[in-house]
Symmetry: C2
Subunit: 497 residues, 2 copies
């Protein structure tokens, strides 16, 4: 079967697709498991739709050509219909809800997790396949439904491993700017977009820079000139009040709403947005959601077109150290909002919906970088060393006793000698190696190497003599005490980590 070197395929994963193993994968799965438990306790049922949707259902309009459009992985089925891999979990939910609405409990709460695919240019840390975890309520127009999603997201993030104060969910309402622009006579879509982009630069440029971009335009230090949005002065004044309220971390949710109301100029649409936010605040407060955990921030502008009301953004506040030793804020790890028109694309009838989504790998790597990863998840199995084929029964008995006691264990199954086997055990992250040589077997004994102690000694982590006496690198025990001895080592390793 071996082919010529020239005709052999190269072993490589496609660009932008990652292989994930052991430690990272186990941590991600536990994270999803813990969040799922929260979501189920809140009455959200699991849903799994297929990887493909018809392209028209995804809201992409494919040209009738060989090359499907950018952004999605699309192909033509044998009945000539275009299918595409889902790029998020919201579009498939909208299709599912429209398809089966008659038979679903109303409102319908569901959570989902799984890979999504984006046909974008891959790069370092930029993948074309990643796991999202979503929760949505379809069929409720109540602000309590938004509040529930927000409160549940908070509890989910805590279950994932974030301590209080390590994350904040910022909430706003799309209709605030809609109303503001409407009342201020800003109707040109390009002008609106330019204004929103200016607001988005507040962090970097401050009010001075933003006010130029809302006005005539701004000349930056490199000499580049950016044409401004040229919005009316009254509109700019309201935006300034928005930014001030967002920047003032001491304001409660109710106080933020007061500030916005005082700024005025919101028009009927903006006022109704304020009322919705006030109702969300009442529900959040009734659910005892702290002012630190969920804040109102009128500058939150979620990119997706389809939001129609409340919008949410989850931001990590914990600082982590990057590979160059610099403190880094992780920033946004998820978001969501109300999208009352998405199901109507199929049915023509408005069906209110609201939801929250976060990136699983992104949250997991933030937790890992912040030292809040699930270290217990990384231990390899105990390795039983193999010397002679004749003693296989002894090795198999040892490995099976350990497993029956709930300790992960394996037999070395290569053909290498003792030294290579110890190296293998080390590479596996094994807490211990079990040695049953001829002498041990004859004496009814077993030698157990404490590999963690060995690693600690080798790394010079401890030279404390008492510690060495308590955790020698190697101990000989009666064969009957195999499980108890190994368990003591595994437990010590767990406590120490």
């Amino acid at each position: 079967m071996t082919e010529d070197a020239a005709s052999r395929p190269e072993a490589r994963a496609p660009r932008g697709f990652a292989d994930r193993r052991g430690r990272d994968l186990v941590a991600e799965r536990r994270l999803v498991q813990r969040v799922s438990e929260v979501y189920e306790r809140w009455g959200f049922e699991p849903l799994d739709t297929g990887a493909f949707e018809y392209a028209d259902a995804l809201g992409k309009f494919l040209p009738d050509a060989d090359r499907p459009n950018e952004g999605v992985f699309a192909l033509q089925d044998d009945d000539d219909q275009w299918m595409a891999l889902r790029y998020d979990l919201t579009a498939p939910l909208a299709r599912f809800a429209a398809q089966g609405w008659e038979t679903l409990p109303k409102p319908f709460r569901r959570y989902a997790f799984g890979p999504v695919w984006r046909n974008e240019k891959p790069g370092p840390g930029r993948f074309r396949e990643f796991v999202q975890c979503d929760a949505d309520t379809v069929g409720s127009d109540r602000p309590e439904a938004d509040a529930e999603i927000i409160a549940m997201a908070c509890e989910g993030l805590q279950a994932a491993g974030l301590a209080a104060g390590q994350a904040v969910i910022r909430v706003s309402n799309r209709k605030l700017f809609d109303g503001l622009f409407e009342a201020g006579g800003v109707t040109d879509p390009i002008q609106k977009l330019t204004a929103l982009r200016a607001i988005d630069k507040f962090d970097r440029l401050g009010w001075e820079g933003v006010s130029l971009l809302l006005g005539e335009g701004r000349l930056d230090e490199s000499g580049d000139y950016t044409k401004g949005a040229n919005v009316p002065k009254a509109v700019a004044a309201t935006i300034e009040a928005f930014l001030a309220s967002a920047g003032d971390g001491a304001l409660s949710r109710a106080e933020t709403l007061n500030r916005i109301a005082q700024a005025g100029g919101l028009g009927a649409t903006g006022e109704s947005a304020l009322e919705e936010l006030a109702a969300i605040d009442r529900a959040l407060t009734a659910m005892r959601v702290g002012e630190d955990a969920v804040r109102f921030d009128p500058t939150i502008v979620r990119g997706l077109e389809y939001y129609t009301g409340a919008v949410f953004e989850a931001e990590l506040l914990l600082e982590t150290i990057d590979e160059k030793g610099r403190a880094v804020r992780f920033g946004s790890i998820g978001g969501g909002g109300r999208y009352d028109d998405l199901v109507a694309r199929f049915t023509g009838e408005r069906l209110p919906a609201t939801g929250f989504s976060f990136g699983v790998s992104r949250l997991a790597s933030a937790l890992r970088a912040a030292g809040r990863g699930d270290e217990d998840a990384v231990r390899g199995p105990v390795v039983v060393i193999v010397f002679s084929q004749d003693d296989m029964q002894h090795y198999l008995d040892a490995v099976s006793e350990l497993r029956n006691a709930g300790i992960a264990a394996e037999l070395y199954l290569g053909r290498a000698g003792m030294k290579a086997q110890m190296k293998y055990a080390d590479r596996r992250g094994a807490p211990a190696a079990v040695i049953l040589g001829g002498d041990e077997i004859a004496a009814g004994q077993v030698t157990i190497k404490d590999l963690d102690a060995g690693r600690a000694l080798a790394a010079g982590i401890t030279d404390n003599e008492a510690w060495k006496a308590e955790r020698p690198g190697q101990r000989v025990a009666p064969r009957a005490e195999l499980v108890a001895t190994v368990r003591a080592i595994v437990d010590a390793a767990r406590t120490a980590s």
Copy 2:
């Protein structure tokens, strides 16, 4: 955003792709979770490769044309390379092992689960996306590695919910027939294939029919003539002995091997296959794997080309009732074997490997059909009924108390009245509904409807007066006893099911 009816997309899942919800999905996830725990205890680490592989890595040879070949979902990346969605979990493992072999512990044990995609004609119960769960050891040529995979598969199937005696793993070795054909002078590939197909019909035709198909040919009852394989008499005699040993359920593994050895005519290749099977038997016996759980059956012929030695097939023995009330055997739910050449496709160097794979949905539906499903998984949340916006705080407190006690609970968030809310709770599979009307709140009480009791009464399942007294459909409790009262109902429902 609402478009004209004519321009609206139809809400439908692509052909051959299923939406899966609640009960079935939870049962499948628990199954995978339990099997994963077993595999990790045996020292297999999790691996997740991407959905796509380069087409050449999958071993498919795509024409340089618009239409990729049958069987896989393929598309051309923007650098013109063909990529295809994985059709199993073995090909990606071979690619991964070849790519990173230098850095992996050797032997390398991994398990994996996830969707695989087949671009085949969909039909009832025939999907183009389904979940597989695999475990493989790469880099060990020891028969103990095969035995370990087989023994672990047995333990995994038990953890999934199969009782002893409900499944059997049948084991054979590809090289038995290779040796037999070689020694008997059967060299024509078509002749070999015809002979193997004849053997595969033993269940239906018995030895009489098979012997005709191994000889000149066979005229069936409808008058159709099937040309035979025309193998030499000695070869046919050995095959007869194979079939007799396979059909005799009383034979131990060692006795089956004896029968095969006595039949003779296996040649050097066949003899080495027998030796491998004997070593697998010794290891299985050393691991206390029962003769009923794993049998040798020389007629096992796995379809896949790439097997080079031992082959396994897991068969469900439990009988289930189909929708027409007939007893049905589920048959094969998985299999595997040794494939020592698959990694060599990339590297040119032989790397021994062995593994086992099963279909998750298929096993889950077998368990469900056999009444061994995970009924506990299907309960909906407790539903708190909503009457007046003014009493929202009371409802939210109740729902949050229940959740904090670990009981799944939700607030009704639609806009419908009491009757529709009770219907909603019933549709959700709620064990109980919590009623906090104005009167209850004023009196410091809560009314709790036991919906299971209500369903049982409605269905006439019980008219026992004592039972009714013990589990009335509805009870009024002091508000402080909300959690205790609901818990009693949830626990009673769990015990009864």
